[in-house]
C-alpha cells in the first residue's frame, strides 16, 4: 500500500486530527490519487453515518427529572433546602405591630403559639437532617460499590452477625416477594447511634433499611416526608426500634417491604 494514504492518516483526516503539515501532504496526495480520495470520502461518510446511527437512545422524561432532582439537591446544604422550601410555601405576612396593642390575653396566646411553632420547626428540622443523613448513607453505599460487611441472603446469617455489635436485636422477615432479595448488611452509625443497615434488592433497585434503637422522645414521623433528594423514604417506629428504609424503587413496593419488616418485630 506504499504510495497511498495509510488507514491511520485517512481516519485522522476524517476526524480532523491531522497536523497542518500532515494535512498539506494529504491534500497534495488526494489531488492526484482518485483511490485515496474515494477512501477519504468513504471514511467521512462512515463517520457521519455512525454519528447519526449512534444517537439512538434517549432517556425517559421521568428519568431526566429524577437525575435533575438528584443533581440539584444533593449538593445543596440543608439550610438552603429548608429556605427554598419556605420560599415555595405560602407564608403568612408578619403580623403588624398593632397586635401588641391587643389585650394581655391575646399577647399570651400569640407567645404560646410562637413557642409551639418554634418547637415544631426545631423538631421538623431535626427530622429533615435525620432523613438527609439516611439518604447520604444510602448514596455512600451505592457509590462505594463495595460488598456488604456480611454477604448473605439468609436471615439466620445476617441477624446473628450483629450479635455483640448492637445494643438491641430485631427480626427479619422470612418470606419476601419474588423479586426482593436480602443482599447482606453493614454496621453503620446514624445520629451517633450504632445502626444496622440491611441491604435489599427489589428488582434492580437497591434498598437500605436502617434499624436503630428507638431514641428518647417523639417517634420519627413518616407521614409528611415521602421523598428526599429524589429517593423515597418509608419507615416505622415501635416501642423499641426506629426503622427507616430508603430507595429509588417505587414507593408502594418500598412500603410493602417496610410493612413485612414491621410485622415480624413482635
Amino acid at each position: 500500500m506504499s504510495g497511498h494514504l495509510t488507514e491511520t492518516i485517512l481516519n485522522a483526516l476524517a476526524d480532523g486530527e491531522l497536523s497542518a503539515e500532515q494535512l498539506v501532504e494529504a491534500q497534495a496526495h488526494l489531488s492526484t490519487c482518485p483511490s485515496c480520495t474515494s477512501s477519504a470520502l468513504s471514511q467521512t461518510m462512515l463517520k457521519t453515518s455512525i454519528a447519526k446511527a449512534g444517537h439512538r437512545y434517549r432517556p425517559s422524561s421521568e428519568f431526566e427529572k429524577r437525575m435533575t432532582r438528584l443533581a440539584s439537591h444533593a449538593l445543596e446544604p440543608a439550610a438552603t433546602r429548608e429556605a427554598g422550601a419556605h420560599k415555595s410555601g405560602a407564608r403568612k405576612p408578619p403580623q403588624p405591630w398593632r397586635v401588641l396593642t391587643y389585650t394581655g390575653w391575646t399577647a399570651a396566646a400569640v407567645l404560646l403559639l410562637v413557642f409551639a411553632g418554634l418547637f415544631s420547626m426545631q423538631r421538623g428540622g431535626q427530622q429533615t437532617a435525620f432523613f438527609a443523613e439516611v439518604c447520604d448513607q444510602h448514596i455512600a453505599m451505592l457509590a462505594a460499590n463495595a460488598p456488604p460487611q456480611v454477604i448473605s441472603s439468609d436471615r439466620h446469617t445476617v441477624k446473628p452477625w450483629f450479635q455483640g455489635k448492637l445494643p438491641f436485636s430485631f427480626n427479619l422477615p422470612e418470606h419476601l416477594p419474588g423479586d426482593t432479595t436480602l443482599d447482606g448488611a453493614n454496621l453503620t452509625y446514624l445520629r451517633d447511634q450504632a445502626t444496622a443497615q440491611l441491604l435489599y434488592s427489589i428488582g434492580r433497585h437497591r434498598v437500605s433499611v436502617f434499624v436503630r434503637k428507638r431514641a428518647g422522645g417523639a417517634a420519627v414521623s413518616y407521614g409528611a416526608l415521602k421523598e428526599v433528594s429524589g429517593f423515597h423514604v418509608a419507615g416505622f417506629s415501635n416501642a423499641a426500634l426506629d426503622v427507616v428504609a430508603v430507595s429509588d424503587v417505587d414507593p408502594t413496593r418500598l412500603a410493602g417491604l417496610v410493612q413485612l419488616i414491621q410485622q415480624v418485630q413482635n
Partner: protein, 195 residues
C-alpha cells in the same frame, strides 16, 4: 456524626452546586445514550448514569473549574461501567490481553480492510441505519466505546485518551479497527452474494 468524606468538604463544594447542574445536566442525554449502548438495556443504563451522577457529585470538589468536565464525567461513566455487572460480563469475553495481542498484529492494515469502493456503493450501505446500528452492536465493548466517543460524542483523540486512560496511539489504533470492523460487517452481505 457521619463517616462520609463529602460531608467534611460540604462547605467547599456547596457554592458550586449550580455549576454542577450547569455542567452535568446538558450531558445527561449523551451519558444515557453511551450507557445504553454499553450496557445494552435501559435499566442497567439508568443505573449506570445514576451511579455516575452520584460519583461525580461526590468528587466534584476535586474537579478543577475550567478543565474538561465532559471528559471527566465520561471517565467516571466508563469506570462505573467496567465495574458494573454488564461491564464485568463484557470483560470476561474480551480480555485486555487479547486486545493488546491483536493490536500488535494490527500494526499495519491489510489493503483489503481499507475501503476502495466507489462512494455511491458506500452511500447505499451507510444509508441503511438499522444495518449500521446492528453492526455497532456486534463491536466488542473496547471498540464500541472508542467509536461512540469519537463519532457520536465528537471528542478529540486526546479527550478520548483521557476518558479511556490509554495512550493516543492506542486510541487511533482502536478507532481504525472499529471502523474496519464496521465496514467488514456491513460488507458481509455483498461478499456472501458474490461467493
Amino acid at each position: 456524626m457521619t463517616l462520609l468524606p463529602w460531608k467534611r468538604t460540604r462547605r467547599e463544594v456547596a457554592p458550586t452546586a449550580s455549576l454542577f447542574e450547569e455542567l452535568a445536566l446538558p450531558l445527561l442525554p449523551s451519558l444515557h445514550n453511551v450507557a445504553f449502548w454499553l450496557a445494552r438495556n435501559s435499566t442497567d443504563a439508568e443505573d449506570l448514569v445514576q451511579e455516575t451522577i452520584l460519583k461525580a457529585l461526590r468528587g466534584f470538589g476535586s474537579f478543577e473549574p475550567g478543565s474538561n468536565f465532559k471528559a471527566w464525567i465520561f471517565r467516571i461513566l466508563r469506570n462505573s461501567y467496567l465495574t458494573s455487572r454488564s461491564g464485568l460480563a463484557a470483560r470476561r469475553t474480551w480480555s485486555l490481553d487479547e486486545e493488546l495481542e491483536e493490536a500488535a498484529e494490527f500494526g499495519s492494515y491489510p489493503e483489503s480492510v481499507i475501503d476502495r469502493q466507489t462512494p455511491e456503493v458506500n452511500l447505499l450501505r451507510l444509508a441503511d441505519q438499522a444495518a449500521l446500528q446492528a453492526a455497532m452492536e456486534q463491536l466488542p465493548p473496547l471498540l464500541l466505546e472508542v467509536i461512540l466517543l469519537c463519532d457520536v460524542e465528537e471528542m478529540r483523540y486526546r479527550e478520548i485518551a483521557s476518558v479511556l486512560e490509554i495512550p493516543m496511539g492506542t486510541v487511533m489504533s482502536r478507532i481504525a479497527r472499529a471502523r474496519a470492523a464496521l465496514r467488514q460487517t456491513l460488507d458481509m452481505p455483498r461478499r456472501e452474494a458474490r461467493a
